[in-house]
Symmetry: C2
Subunit: 570 residues, 2 copies
């Protein structure tokens, strides 16, 4: 079955699908490792025969379950022993998708005829009909948009709720071509909210988006301690948080090495428990800075989409060695990448997934672990309970949570978040000329730093002519921070900050933790408005770029220019 | 014997030393590894008993031999089987150090009483007497200056000929306090030039200094080929080039691991010959760019103090394993550093030396080799014949040439070039407040790039509205170049260059070779004066700082800001 056909699994189709006769239609999310053709097909084969009732699937004829079934059952079994979320419409009031005077009216039957480029690609949202043919190529989410071709995009937006912001909705209205006839406007009050089982979060987490939940804490709290509290650690979810109701020992992970093998948490815990203190940072941390140059697509993170924790679990390399993975095996099989998938699923049953180069796994100094503890406590649900992978020095997006599957492959993971997101481009690349295949996936992150105290636009009191300033600095790939320079006069002079010892006392090449720093910054006498600048240098003597303009990229990732904070001196 | 006393080995003392009774007075250059107190003493013990005549030492009572002897014989045996250079005055005319009217006249006996801080530190140069007490602390060469305390600095400057430039000489004259009486002005016409045995160099090498020889080729030649020709590869020498007259198999290197062991080249060649394609770059490459911000001390390199070659030799890790070096051994002995010393010696017998962290050696992916071939040919004398160490991804200064000694140690190498040079500082640190102990030695280098064609101020012809531009990009630590952006409008827009495949096809984390790039750069229509900018990004997504101002440092190292070339469009 051609990929283009696979992609034409629309919500319209889903609504009319016969549950009993669902054929394998899952979106291809990864190249199957070694010898087998396709992971989607593979999973089908091994799972389609299992009776769904065994898995305790809930929600009756909810759209979510229909999607899963139309996906060939993978969505169902992909949940493993996680509780599945169920779908519901949020009842928010908005002005988009409403009936518009003067436009033609179409039936859903007519809309459904427009599901590929030849016939133009139409979609509906609430009462609106849209021709998005010209938008498909530049959709940040890639071809995933085609899931809604010839049908309604509403259910997808309930999951990918990040779309529900005025900028996106305004843009969508530019593609408006008509109104949907009243009797076809879907009444979906019987479906449940897939986000109804989200964990309770600490009120100090400031949400950048609620569905999926993405949040950071305030910058002042962030640098209070070398180790970030579990409750205040930034949360980056791409889908609803999956639910697992123990016992932990029964939690299963599929390993695809030379053959498939399911290991339980009990198996994994048989290995020695090792710990690594590592900062994890979102590729989009400090996006709000880079977005000041010109708009970008993505969550508007401040400086706190980073945290530093002690992660404990089993060495992934040791685990792999037990499964027969040696340097020789890797060479013989032509293995180049390690794939990770989570139990967090999109509406079509596609799991979140990512990969890292095999060199990271095979290097014992990479300190990669399958973690079940964070700061001495079991992982919280938001951080991957019961099991996630920790790849120190590497962008958060590869530290896959709620891990369900680990596979070795000659190919990079083909999913959305590896291929169509989390990549950098030069500032002149925009949505009209971007070619995601031309840029490598972000792995190790560049050197960065931020001022956390004082905050932007705050009033500060001088202490002996100086402003107390605090922040963090970090560099990916195990590089140690060797110096943090701070300026109160736009770089005319630089003062060197005092570095926190937690960050300094790390082995060469394995400096995974961040470095906190502080300084009593002398400010020019008499100045009332002071802009504070910071830049860090790591032990490769790499340092930060000066301004965001020359590192701007359309996704607003890798925002590591000098951090600047304006304050008023009282 | 206290270090301060050791350091009071002045040229005055040397001139009056009784050759027969020379006591060990060598300047401490390295902390002896593992258990022994001092490398200098160690070498004395094993070498002082050997009759000097055996070593075929030449030059009679030349100052060079006197220095070596006063150094306890180390200078002599330190030469191993290399031919020793002999000292002579160059006859250059200059206006400094001449008799000055109106100043008091001193005898050398009076000068010699001023050899420490309590009595003030005096020195002579030709006919001048100088009180340099206040300069000692800020001397770029560190305490080595004290070798001349109470005596003449002339012989040292013959070796460290880098001093002989108007800026240094002018500064010296500021410390002038008197004239030396005529009968004490040394007549040294009987000594020979230590640089008389230098190799013949290719005329395409442009010398930044002749004694010691430091040179680069023209930027256009540099990027003609992925592999730099041996003859055009930049040369960075700190002292005269030592001479070795084979046979190669007899060449000896001292290994200090758990005990001392001398290996010959024949032993080293028993190991499999391995090759690595690696760029080597001087820390001062592009110093001429950073010096435009404000003056720095150091050779004025252009963009060509870098080259890319295939180095072949024995794996140093394999060699070390044969000597019993294991992870366990390293841990038990508390080893943290690997020391390298060369056969190139200063006038006091101190060899060039440096060290790297032990982690580099123990990581098999570091690809460190003891190289005896460069691009398939035996090393040339300028590049370390017969043996040097190649540490890919690491600053040239650690790639020690004419290797004589390799030692493991809990301490970093204590020599000049590890402790008092090749370090970075923030732009506000100057010679008045610099504390070298506060900055780590440069090891892996940051991402950089340069435009080699066209050259600064050249006239270029447009080809279809575009300027053909060529250059190199490289990043230390095995990081691969993933993108090179070029701008003709000061960063308003960026065009992405085409990358050379030699650089792209390198394994992850082991991208030691440089990446050549080229682009037909579209320039703004009608512009006659165009400034071309380049910046590279490596696979950590680290990129270059925009301008030299914020990375300026007093030694002018690590000059990796955007490279800029102004051209006139014809």
């Amino acid at each position: 079955m051609a990929l283009s056909h696979l992609l034409r699994v629309t919500s319209q189709h889903l609504r009319i699908a016969d549950v009993g006769s669902a054929s394998p239609r899952r979106i291809l999310v990864s190249v199957f490792p070694l010898t087998k053709p396709c992971q989607g097909q593979q999973k089908n084969k091994s799972t389609a025969t299992k009776p769904r009732s065994e898995k305790g699937y809930q929600g009756g004829r909810s759209l979510w379950s229909l999607i899963a079934v139309a996906g060939g059952g993978i969505g169902v079994y992909g949940l493993w022993k996680m509780r599945e979320p169920v779908l519901a419409l949020s009842e928010e009031e908005d002005r988009w998708g409403k009936f518009r005077e003067g436009l033609p009216t179409y039936s859903m039957a007519e809309v459904s005829k427009h599901s590929d480029k030849n016939s133009r690609i139409w979609m509906t949202y609430k009462e609106g009909v849209y021709d998005v043919t010209d938008f498909v190529e530049i959709h940040p989410g890639g071809e995933r948009i085609l899931m809604a071709a010839g049908g309604s995009m509403d259910p997808f937006w309930d999951i990918y709720a990040v779309h529900k912001n005025p900028a996106v909705l305004d843009m969508m209205e530019e593609y408006r071509i008509g109104n949907l006839q009243k009797e076809d406007v879907v009444q979906r009050s019987d479906s449940a909210d897939p986000y109804s089982k989200e964990p309770v979060r600490h009120p100090a987490l400031i949400a950048a988006s609620k569905k999926p939940f993405n949040a950071e804490t305030s910058s002042e709290l962030l640098v209070e301690t070398f180790i970030t509290s579990n409750d205040l650690f930034y949360v980056r979810n791409h889908m609803p948080v999956p639910t697992f109701e123990g016992p932990d020992d029964k939690y299963e992970v599929m390993f695809e090495v030379s053959s498939e093998k399911t290991l339980t948490m009990a198996d994994i815990k048989k290995l020695p428990k090792v710990s690594v203190t590592a900062a994890i940072q979102c590729a989009g941390n400090r996006r709000s800075d880079i977005a000041q140059v010109k708009p970008v697509k993505g969550l508007s993170w401040g400086v706190a989409a980073i945290g530093n924790a002690v992660w404990s679990g089993a060495s992934l390399l040791e685990l792999m060695k037990n499964l027969g993975v040696t340097e020789e095996f890797v060479r013989q099989k032509g293995i180049k990448h390690v794939h990770f998938e989570g139990n967090d699923l999109g509406p079509d049953g596609t799991p979140y997934g990512a990969s890292i180069p095999i060199e990271f796994l095979m290097n014992p100094n990479s300190d990669i672990i399958l973690a079940y503890e964070m700061n001495g406590k079991p992982l919280s649900r938001d951080h991957g309970y019961p099991l996630r992978v920790i790849i120190p020095g590497v962008v958060g997006a590869r530290n896959v949570k709620w891990i369900s599957r680990i596979a070795l492959s000659p190919e990079e993971y083909q999913g959305q978040w590896q291929q169509r997101d989390y990549k950098g481009f030069n500032p002149s690349v925009d949505w009209n000329n971007v070619d995601f295949s031309q840029s490598p996936a972000i792995q190790e992150l560049p050197v960065t730093s931020a001022i956390c105290i004082p905050k932007e636009n705050s009033k500060v009191k001088l202490k002996k002519g100086a402003v107390p300033v605090k922040g963090y600095a970090w560099s990916g790939g195990g590089k140690k921070i060797i110096r943090v320079d701070v300026s109160a006069d736009n770089g005319k002079t630089w003062q060197t900050a005092t570095l926190d010892h937690g960050g300094l006392d790390q082995p060469r090449g394995r400096a995974w933790a961040w470095t906190l720093w502080n300084i009593d910054l002398e400010v020019p006498k008499g100045e009332k408005e002071v802009e504070i600048l910071v830049k860090a240098t790591d032990d490769n003597y790499n340092t930060q770029p000066e301004s965001s303009a020359n590192i701007w990229n359309l996704r607003g990732v890798l925002s590591n220019a000098y951090h600047r904070v304006k304050v008023t001196v009282a």
